[in-house]
């Protein structure tokens, strides 16, 4: 891996970090937005045999021939390995055949429960969000899932207002108790750092801060007392080859544009 660095922004760093979570040969359920690019990046660099499944009913084992903004763009259907029903894609997930799924969210809590439905008091004043889409299914049924989201105090809360996509619920044993067959969040990638989950108490643990970010900054933007790994790593910045590849997939910077950090 090359070690030279170039200017980059948080979106590029997050996509690169997401891509590195994908092992070669894994079956990936690809979510909307940044995960779309994370899959393409992994597939083009270290995970050429990864297979992507999309909730529209698409399976791809080749990278789309030209850049796409969303999974329903026609280049993402061109030479797909399988075009089928949403229920077919979801059934692969339900069987346990999907190694990892990716999702984004508006609000997350210490147990990795994700909310993309509504903020506020159910019976009082609420802010409405678009809802689950496939996110609830991806979080319920994959072997593991990865969250990619902006890190702000209003988003990192003690307890989410609504569980759209189940994490570890209220702690150890919850997923088994409610009947979920497997899985749970393995990693949270944010604009400030990377988190994993303590296997014993199922709480989010800060394991890596992005270059230039301090542990205190992460804590200041988090609504509960963070568990912090010792030592905390520094997230490796995106490499030149990762940045070059991203520029090919997102040439206009629609998803990964913005000023350098």
């Amino acid at each position: 891996m090359d070690t030279d660095t170039r200017e980059y922004n948080f979106a590029q760093l997050m996509v690169a970090a997401a891509a590195r979570e994908i092992q070669n040969g894994e079956i990936i359920f690809v979510g909307m937005r940044l995960p779309l690019l994370g899959f393409l990046l992994a597939k083009s660099l270290h995970a050429p045999d990864a297979v992507g499944i999309y909730e529209l009913g698409i399976v791809r084992d080749r990278v789309a021939p030209v850049p796409i903004l969303t999974m329903g763009d026609l280049p993402n259907l061109y030479q797909a390995a399988w075009l089928a029903d949403t229920a077919d894609a979801m059934s692969l997930l339900q069987q346990g055949r999907v190694d990892v799924s990716f999702l984004g969210g508006a609000q997350v809590d210490r147990f990795g429960n994700l909310n993309t439905t509504l903020i506020g008091d159910w019976n009082g004043s609420i802010s409405s969000l678009p809802g689950s889409g496939g996110a609830c299914d991806l979080a319920s049924l994959a072997q593991r899932h990865i969250l990619v989201m902006a890190h702000e105090e209003r988003r990192f809360v003690e307890r989410v207002d609504y569980i759209t996509s189940p994490g570890y619920g209220d702690g150890p044993g919850w997923r088994q108790r409610v009947g979920l067959p497997r899985g749970g969040p393995s990693t949270v990638i944010t604009t400030l750092g990377i988190f994993h989950f303590d296997p014993v108490d199922c709480q989010m643990v800060l394991t890596s801060v992005h270059p230039g970010v301090t542990v205190k900054m992460v804590q200041d933007h988090t609504g509960w007392p963070l568990k912090i790994a010792n030592p905390v790593q520094i997230t490796p910045p995106p490499t030149l080859s990762e940045l070059d590849m991203l520029a090919q997939f997102d040439p206009k910077g629609f998803w990964t544009g913005g000023p350098a950090r």
Binding site: M32, Y54, E55, L56, G57, I58, L69, T70, M71, G72, D73, L74, L77, Y78, Q79, A80, L83, A84, D85, T86, A87, M90, L93, Q94, T117, L118, W122, S125, I126, S127, S128, L129, P130, G131, S132, G133, G134, A135, C136, D137, S140, L141, Y162, I163, T164, S165, P166, G169, W174, R175, V178, G179, L180, P181, F254
Partner: protein
């Protein structure tokens, strides 16, 4: 010879989508969204509809903004590449519409249950989520064989499925290709199926490839010729997605005043889809979006 089911879109909408109807649409999630039919519903000022769908893109947001909707049973309502659907957001926050929360899998299963003629289907998705608190059609049950907890998804039988396809004959035999989303179960579950089609073709063309037919023609009530009927969403083999339109819609739907202007210009003041494409979209945009790199299948042999 069976009777032709060909109708002008305005007639089909007037005849089979009464106020208060439940309508499943946007079933392919991102492709083949029936915008022409949706805009005709708005022009005819339909009221109190129940909209059923997976991720629904901006058509549901437009129907909500035009005050055609009283209830939504869907997994997601917004703008795929920008996020929020502002009309939907306001209507939910002001409690003007009732929403039953689904995921893409549970809405598929609800329709599949109806399509199979059973009252519910079991699944392992969504357990522990709050979808169960906002959807009377989701309950937990105990598996009679293993004793495990499962989710039960109640069947949904829509009054009408509104589906855009590439080509159909006058009898309702149709070809649809690409990613299919929940289209198959939506059509099989619904009492009435209305197709809008890019092209109306001879029956013999449909019969050359029966695997491309995803539901039988006898289930179809009406066929409407609607070229560019899914614009700005993409239709495999016909045209690409117009991303700019989705970005512009985000801006023009932010405030009720701007949305009202948008609604007048893009829907109420155009008589039909042909005029919409001619006056609002224009030839150069249409040329931009056409398929530049065709990719045909190798023929398959259905002979005997």
């Amino acid at each position: 010879m069976p009777e032709s089911k060909l109708y002008p879109l305005s007639k089909a909408v007037a005849k089979w989508i009464p106020d208060g109807a439940s309508v499943v649409s946007c079933t392919a999630l991102e492709t083949c969204i029936p915008f022409a039919a949706g805009h005709e519903i708005i022009r005819q000022k339909k009221k109190d509809l129940t909209l059923i769908g997976p991720i629904s893109d901006i058509l549901f947001d437009q129907l909500v903004g035009a005050e055609c909707v009283k209830m939504i049973q869907a997994a997601w309502v917004g703008n795929v590449i920008t996020g929020l659907g502002y009309n939907y957001q306001k209507a939910v926050e002001n409690r003007r519409i009732v929403v039953e929360h689904h995921s893409n899998f549970t809405i598929s299963l609800a329709l599949k249950a109806a399509s199979m003629g059973v009252p519910f289907l079991p699944t392992r998705t969504g357990l522990g989520s709050d979808l169960f608190h906002f959807n009377p059609g989701l309950k937990t049950v105990t598996c009679p064989f293993t004793g495990h907890t499962l989710a039960a998804v109640a069947a949904i039988t829509p009054d009408v499925a509104l589906i855009h396809v590439q080509r159909a004959d006058a009898m309702g035999n149709a070809h649809l290709w690409g990613s299919l989303g929940i289209t198959r179960e939506a059509c099989l579950a619904s009492r009435i199926v209305i197709l809008t089609a890019e092209e109306i073709v001879q029956t013999e063309i449909i019969l050359t490839d029966p695997n491309r037919v995803i539901f039988p023609g006898f289930l179809v009530t009406a066929v409407c010729h609607a070229p560019w009927g899914a614009y700005p969403s993409p239709v495999p083999g016909y045209y690409n997605r117009d991303h700019d339109y989705f970005l512009e819609y985000q801006q023009s739907s932010k405030s009720p005043e701007n949305f009202h202007k948008w609604l007048l210009r893009h829907v109420m003041k155009v008589s039909d889809r042909e005029k919409f494409m001619e006056q609002i979209v224009g030839n150069s945009k249409m040329a931009d979006l056409t398929i530049k790199k065709p990719s045909f299948t190798e023929p398959v042999n259905y002979g005997y």
